[in-house]
């Protein structure tokens, strides 16, 4: 099996599905001849032509709006938003249109649009090339939200998204776009949505994360192990609908949990996980569930390294739940 990074894995998934599904079209800014500023659509323009790999004018609202129209007609558009930070001009089309179309039409008009967008910090991008807005979309009924943390999952999850009939926001962890490498089959395979991945079994503290935070929680779990602390590490993969059974089972076992995301703390996805897990597993909890998150400031530039959660902070939180 060839080694791929996340970009190559995404590219492989798109290529496989475009060959299989003639109705799949890719559209966005610079996705055509250039193959995308991160090169995720590289080669697709030459292979499938300008009618199926479309360089659009500079307007995210137009990209999503036209993608919705294509989907209503029966196509399978896969728009790319160049950076998650630039998704907001399309916010109305996403939350008021895409998310509500099936519902508001009494089921007459499904709208299977899969929006791909790189998200997150750690690339010295400042406010506008670093945001993690997943919570805004998780709070919007009608959208699925998927975030892979490695090339194998990226390909398998994306292929699953392209073969189901609901709108999906597929957020790609650009910080580890190239750094995360793995052996990825060139063949067609899928990884089911809604199923988390227990990347490391353990019995003392459950550590929950996704996307670019996975390498960090893994490092923290290693350090914890050196101290004799056994962490169970869970990669959510699908944020909505998330895998409640795996989370609950783990917390019933460990009685302790730390949730990690780089998005701002207040009203971040971590809060929802804490609230729901407390409702279901309160009697098992030996300590409050702790959150290690980005801060409630706009994403800073020079102090990015202090803003981002890191293994030490996760480890500190892990220890704290044990000492509580």
């Amino acid at each position: 099996m060839p080694t791929m990074n996340i970009i190559q894995a995404v590219n492989s998934a798109l290529r496989i599905e475009m060959a299989r599904e003639p109705n799949l079209v890719v559209l966005g800014e610079d996705v055509g001849k250039f193959g995308g500023v991160f090169r995720a659509t590289s080669g697709l323009h030459d292979e499938f032509g300008p009618e199926r790999v479309i360089d659009t004018p500079l307007a995210e609202g137009g990209i999503i709006g036209t993608a919705i129209g294509m989907a209503l007609y029966g196509m399978r558009p896969v728009p790319e938003i160049q950076f998650a930070d630039f998704i907001f001009p399309a916010f109305d089309q996403i939350v008021n249109e895409l998310a509500k179309f099936r519902y508001r039409s009494g089921g007459e008009y499904p709208c299977p649009v899969v929006i791909r967008t790189p998200y997150g910090g750690g690339i010295r991008g400042g406010h506008y090339h670093s945001q993690s807005p997943e919570a805004l979309f998780i709070h919007t009924p009608g959208l699925k939200v998927v975030i892979p943390s490695n090339p194998v999952d990226a390909k398998g999850l994306l292929l699953s998204c392209l073969r189901q009939n609901d709108p999906v926001l597929f957020m790609e962890p650009k910080r580890i776009y190239r750094a995360s490498r793995g052996d990825v089959s060139e063949d067609d395979y899928t990884i089911p949505l809604g199923v988390a991945n227990v990347t490391r079994p353990g019995d003392q503290v459950t550590v929950i994360a996704y996307g670019a935070m996975m390498p960090i929680v893994t490092e923290a779990a290693d350090k914890a192990a050196d101290e004799g602390i056994s962490c169970e590490v869970i990669d959510l993969r699908t944020l909505l609908p998330y895998d409640i059974d795996t989370l609950t089972a783990s917390i019933q076992k460990t009685g302790r949990a730390v949730i990690v995301h780089e998005a701002p703390r207040t009203c971040g996805f971590g809060a929802e996980l804490v609230a729901t897990l407390c409702e279901r597993a309160m009697e098992y909890l030996e300590a409050p569930i702790l959150r290690v998150t980005g801060f409630d400031t706009p994403f800073p530039y020079s102090l990015e390294h202090e803003y981002m959660p890191n293994a030490d902070r996760v480890l500190t939180a892990v220890r704290k739940t044990l000492e509580w």
Binding site: V25, E51, R52, I54, T56, P57, A59, G61, G62, I64, G65, T66, A67, I68, G69, M70, A71, L72, Y73, G74, M75, P77, P89, D92, Q93, N96, E97, K100, F101, R102, Y103, R104, S105, G106, G107, E108, Y109, P110, P141, G142, K144, Q164, N165, D166, G194, L240, P241, I244
Partner: protein, 370 residues
């Protein structure tokens, strides 16, 4: 009035203010049977609007929007084929009926009852009818415009000669959606007809406060597409211009923008009171150009109209509306568990739990139960 007086020159018309054919005007070829059917549907809209607004005033439906004075614009869809797509705004009732949406579905939707085709999901007048490719109506104005462009582009990619047609009000031309849609349409040469239904008002805001452009049609210049200004109270001019635009689309010549000049004779909706912001005499001057009266005159000139036809049509529609309204009032509310359907194709765990929670609660009666 202003715009009409100032801009008569570049305004396409077939009928004069009274409804007689203007010398030398280019008359669209429409079979006599269709002419009568068009008149029948125009009357249906006017009668329906009157009846439904009365229902609303009686508190039997929550909300309604009339299109009195704008009925002729609806029949731009006469230029479409059944396999073309229609992306409406919320004020084109006639287009729905013409494309096959039934009076039953229309009225049950207004009641949001258990026979509402969209399961009581949306406010009155937010219809959806996929069999006729009439796309679900949304309240946020303008969102349908890029969607129409996308569907049209998809038709081209699929290699068909279908096209899409979309409506929006002149106020909606101020939205970003209008701009990105017009621009994408121009660049993609999408087979789409973009219709600005210029009725002079956006709730309380007059046309003059929406744009400093001389006309809305002139905005097409910025997108490299033709923009045509048409008397929107002249059904023949509307159909003629629409057929031309549809022909361009099918021929691969790209998009066309039409400005249909008309007038919102009454309030914006059942929630609105225009006396609070506009001269109460303004409507009268416009009623002179009533599209129904003008079309009737044309039919008379063609010997296609009679007192009997008029009363038959009126009675037929009134009777049907009476019957359906009675049925609709008998219907119940959609089942409570249906609230959780269609959020996704399948019901995810959290919605299943929320449904079970709700079903376990004592039922709350609608304060407005039918």
């Amino acid at each position: 009035m202003v715009a009409v007086k100032l801009q008569q020159d570049d305004l396409r018309r077939v009928l004069d203010d009274d409804g007689h054919v203007i010398k030398g005007a280019q008359i669209p070829t429409i079979p006599d049977a269709d002419l009568v059917r068009l008149y029948d549907h125009m009357m249906l809209v006017r009668i329906m609007d009157d009846r439904m607004m009365r229902l609303q005033r009686q508190g039997r439906i929550a909300f309604y929007m009339k299109s009195v004075g704008e009925e002729a614009t609806h029949f731009a869809v006469y230029a479409l084929r059944a396999d073309d797509w229609f992306f409406p705004s919320y004020r084109e009732q006639g287009a729905w009926f013409w494309r096959g949406y039934s009076v039953e579905d229309y009225i049950h939707q207004l009641f949001g009852n258990d026979r509402d085709p969209i399961k009581g999901r949306q406010m009155p007048v937010h219809h959806s009818h996929s069999p006729s490719h009439c796309v679900s109506i949304s309240s946020p104005v303008g969102t349908q415009i890029p969607q129409a462009v996308g569907a049209a582009q998809a038709m081209r990619i699929a290699g068909t000669d279908q096209c899409a047609l979309t409506f929006f009000g002149e106020g909606t031309s101020s939205t970003g959606e209008f701009h990105v849609a017009m621009n994408f349409a121009g660049v993609m040469k999408a087979p789409v007809v973009l219709i600005c239904r210029n009725n002079g008002w956006a709730i309380s805001v007059p046309r003059e406060k929406q744009t400093a452009a001389k006309t809305f049609a002139s905005k097409a210049v910025g997108y490299g597409m033709p923009g045509v200004r048409v008397d929107g109270n002249d059904i023949l001019a509307v159909i003629q211009a629409s057929q031309e635009a549809v022909a361009r689309a099918r021929a691969g010549d790209g998009p066309t923008m039409l400005e249909l000049l008309t007038y919102r004779v009454q309030g914006h909706s059942s929630s609105d009171d225009p006396t609070a912001y506009r001269d109460p005499n303004e409507p009268e001057t416009w009623e002179l150009r009533d599209p129904v009266r003008r079309f009737r005159t044309y039919l008379q000139d063609r010997d296609l109209w009679s007192e009997k036809l008029e009363s038959d049509i009126t009675d037929k529609h009134n009777d049907e509306i009476t019957r359906v309204t009675a049925d609709a009032a008998e219907c119940g509310t959609p089942p409570v568990e249906s609230m959780f359907d269609d959020v996704f194709e399948d019901l995810p765990w959290h919605l299943a739990e929320q449904r079970d929670y709700l079903l376990a609660q004592p039922r709350t009666k609608s304060p407005h139960a039918h």
